[in-house]
């Protein structure tokens, strides 16, 4: 049993890694542009445009969005690549579409420091002045070093180092020129500055084989994400800039409250109901109950939720409070009052989340019991004079309910996933509504985190189901 458990847990690691890979690739190759709202002010004023551009660049750098997704081959950027891209931005021969121009600008921006050697080459050697000017403008941005965020204990040293980097970045900032400045000596000065700068700094761009290998694999979004993940750092939300894990954990209490109480309610009602109707098989009562359960099973939960919301929270029959998890004045209540208030709020959501599972599980319980109720050992139990209640509960139910246990594992993740729609309808600030808003705002880090956490929960659930099988049914061993 122990070996089996360990083996299963060991298998979970590659599975989880594969899931994270799958989810990561899906998200990163999908359409949509995280942080695009930072650029919304663009086009209104030129000065503001420049500021926006810079803040967007820093935003991309912060969230590693400037990095390639899986593999990084930017160490081998050729001068030609860079020159073509610069030409596309400038659109000198008026043949480039606007979309291509924007894409080219993003491309140079994302290349970051990898493009510096080619930019220097372009600045020193290119025959067209527009290209030289553009190269100098790009250099002042691309040659900037990144503010490091190491995770050391020596905060003071880190701060000093960052200060030095910021100083170096400020130094290169003015060394650019525009096309109409070529007449005076600006260009010559700028070129001279960069020539000197390059002669002192060029060592940083000569890559050994190890450097190339480490860039190829580690300077990517995936590697950065995973190295953060190993420290249990899911990154920050792109929208509110708060750590994702913190927000998810704070939201989890709402979702868990709903899910756990739904599961509890489902088992509490469905097992006795299933047994009750199995014992009365083919009577009118059984048929009515089976029919009602079947109808409930087919009833879409969002339909029921909207009906209940419209019937019981507004208008003449407004018995239940309107929306949310608790009232806004909850902090003024006593402990008992808070519990009552929350209960009052979650009643409708829990009803909507549980009736479907309740119907399904009752039907399983009924068939499960019917499967065993004709077995020989039940007849034996009756023959030796045991009361009917004990025969059903102790002998038949214990055996017939085994399949129900495994459903527990699928029920919990299904409830977490299924709660999205209910939480959105009843405006409960849990995981479900959080992921819904994040998805609509392209908040990658949040979506990744929620997907990974819920897949992990599912994997654990599957494992628990298999183990509980063995615990309940002595016939099953895994050794």
């Amino acid at each position: 049993m122990l070996t089996y458990t360990l083996k299963r847990i060991a298998l979970m690691v590659p599975t989880f890694f594969a899931i994270s890979m799958l989810v990561f690739v899906l998200l990163n190759f999908g359409a949509g542009n995280p942080g695009a709202n930072q650029l919304s002010g663009e086009g209104s004023q030129d000065a503001q445009k420049g500021d926006n551009r810079e803040s967007y660049r820093i935003f991309k750098e912060q969230f590693n969005l400037d990095k390639p997704i899986l593999f990084n081959t930017r160490y081998s950027l050729s001068n030609d690549d860079v020159e073509t891209t610069l030409a596309q931005i400038l659109n000198l021969d008026k043949s480039v579409s606007l979309a291509d121009q924007i894409a080219a600008r993003d491309r140079v921006e994302n290349w970051g420091r990898y493009a510096v050697p080619s930019l220097i080459h372009c600045l020193l050697n290119h025959e067209r002045v527009e290209m030289r000017a553009k190269a100098s403008q790009r250099l002042t941005v691309n040659a900037k070093e990144r503010i490091i965020t190491k995770f050391t204990d020596d905060v003071e040293a880190e701060r000093l180092e960052n200060k030095a980097i910021a100083k170096r970045n400020r130094e290169i900032n003015p060394w650019r020129f525009s096309v109409n400045q070529t007449g005076d000596k600006t260009e010559a000065k700028v070129v001279e500055f960069w020539r000197q700068w390059w002669s002192t700094n060029s060592a940083a761009w000569s890559y050994s084989f190890q450097d190339k290998a480490s860039i190829f694999f580690t300077d990517t979004r995936f590697a950065k994400y995973w190295s953060n993940l190993l420290r249990l750092d899911f990154g920050k939300s792109h929208i509110d800039k708060k750590p994702v894990l913190e927000t998810v954990l704070s939201k989890l209490k709402y979702s868990i409250t709903l899910a756990v109480s739904s599961v509890f309610l489902i088992y509490l009602i469905s097992l006795p109901l299933g047994i009750w109707s199995a014992v009365r098989q083919n009577t009118v009562a059984d048929k009515v109950v089976t029919f009602i359960l079947f109808m409930l099973y087919s009833l879409p939960s969002f339909f029921v939720a909207v009906i209940l919301l419209n019937a019981l929270t507004v208008g003449d029959w407004a018995i239940f409070p309107n929306l949310g998890f608790q009232s806004s004045d909850a902090h003024e209540m006593t402990a008992l009052g808070v519990i009552k208030d929350v209960l009052w709020h979650v009643t409708l959501p829990i009803v909507c989340m549980s009736y479907g599972g309740l119907a399904a599980l009752s039907r399983y319980a009924r068939t499960g019991l019917l499967d065993v109720i004709r077995a020989d050992y039940i007849r034996t139990a009756r023959a030796k004079g045991l009361p009917e209640g004990i025969v059903i509960v102790k002998h038949a139910a214990r055996n017939g309910m085994i399949p129900i246990l495994t459903l527990m594992a699928t029920l919990l993740p299904a409830l977490i996933g299924g709660s999205v729609i209910i939480e959105v309808i009843f405006q409960i600030p849990g995981m479900g509504s959080y992921i819904f808003t994040s998805v609509t705002q392209y908040d990658y880090n949040v979506v990744m985190a929620v997907l990974l956490i819920s897949s992990l929960l599912t994997l654990i659930g599957m494992l628990l189901a298999d183990l509980s099988y063995a615990l309940v049914d002595p016939r099953i061993t895994f050794d």
Binding site: G30, S298, P300, F302, F303, I307, F436, V439, S454, M462
Partner: protein, 427 residues
Amino acid sequence: MSKIAKQAAGHEDATFSDIVWSQFKKNKTAYLSLWLLAGMFLLAIFAPIIASERAFYWQEGGETYFPWFTSLFDDNYFENGVDKFFNLLLVLGVPLFCIWMVGVRRIQSFGLSKRVRRQKMKRFGQILTAFFTLCFLFILLNPQGRKNIHSFEDYMDATTKESRSITAVFPPIEYGYSKQILKDKLKRPGFGGDCSKQDQGSDSCRSYAMGTDSVGRDVMVRMLYGIRISLSVGVIAVGIYVTIGIFLGAFAGYFRGRIDLVIQRVIEIVMAVPTLIVLLVLISFIEEPSIFHIMLVIGLLRWTGVARLVRGEFYRLRNLDFVTSAIALGFSTRRIIFQHILPNALGPVLVAATFGVAAAILIESSLSFLGLGDINVPSWGQTLRDGYLTQEWHLILIPGLAIFITVTLLNLVGEGLRDALDPKMRK
């Protein structure tokens, strides 16, 4: 006709599907549900006859037009593939059905054995399907967009404002599913003339059997065309995932060993990611999701159940004598898998597929309900969303009941099939 052939025809053994069918017919509820679903399917096909903006027949001066017929494959009027498919069924369905009936009659009159007859009928059916598919491809590849003329609006303008004399015949409901009648927004259901708001012109005297939604579209028409969307989402999504599931399950169950291990891991991975959340993510990350994206994504995410089912069946059947003898006879692996084992494993898959259609319809409508679906198709979930936002009872109950009834019917058919396939239930 030879004597032997006659004898063979007399002593036919009932095939497995015959037995299942006769069992299924004994279950009255399931049988009735199947017929009701067939009725819904017919309604979906005949939707343009019931509701369309264009006139069947339009005569003005000496000229006669048939605008309804040209609108059926018109990109300006029916822009998505689902509608074109059903319209083609409307045009070609009846003639093809007649040809099929005549053909079957002819094949039966040959007096062949049941086995040969089945083979001939199968071939005949394949030819008709191929013809239909060719026509459909031709329509999809030749999109046409004509000017939107001879509509009901034109007729009203021409007769009331310009007082031209026009003879035109319209369908019973003169609006298509995307027609917005802005002055009739959020009308409650009603029958007969409802002239309470006479100051708004003659058109507001109109009443709508199921009311209108928040932008003034006739709910009944949207429900009607919504059948098309729901049924095709269900069938195509399930078709995709049943195909994937059968292939992967069959390989895993037949070859076992390393292939099985790999496929098992893939199944585990796909099972562990929460379907609804991944669906939300994928759909919202697709720029302008169309109804076909939704079908594809559902199909790509939900195949694990079928794959496990088929794998289990193949594990069981692989050791039986008929497979061993097929291997001994030297048949190719492909033939053994698809012609010998697979037909024996299809029963449970069929049941799972029926329940799957219901589930896919639910998923599509919940996506539309959340506002992430295809906004250009008349999905039931969208109308329900409208009801949720406007709190109008008719916009909640009508689409909700439509979803509920469809799902219930499909589940009933699925239950009936399961019981019919179960040898324990046979009498």
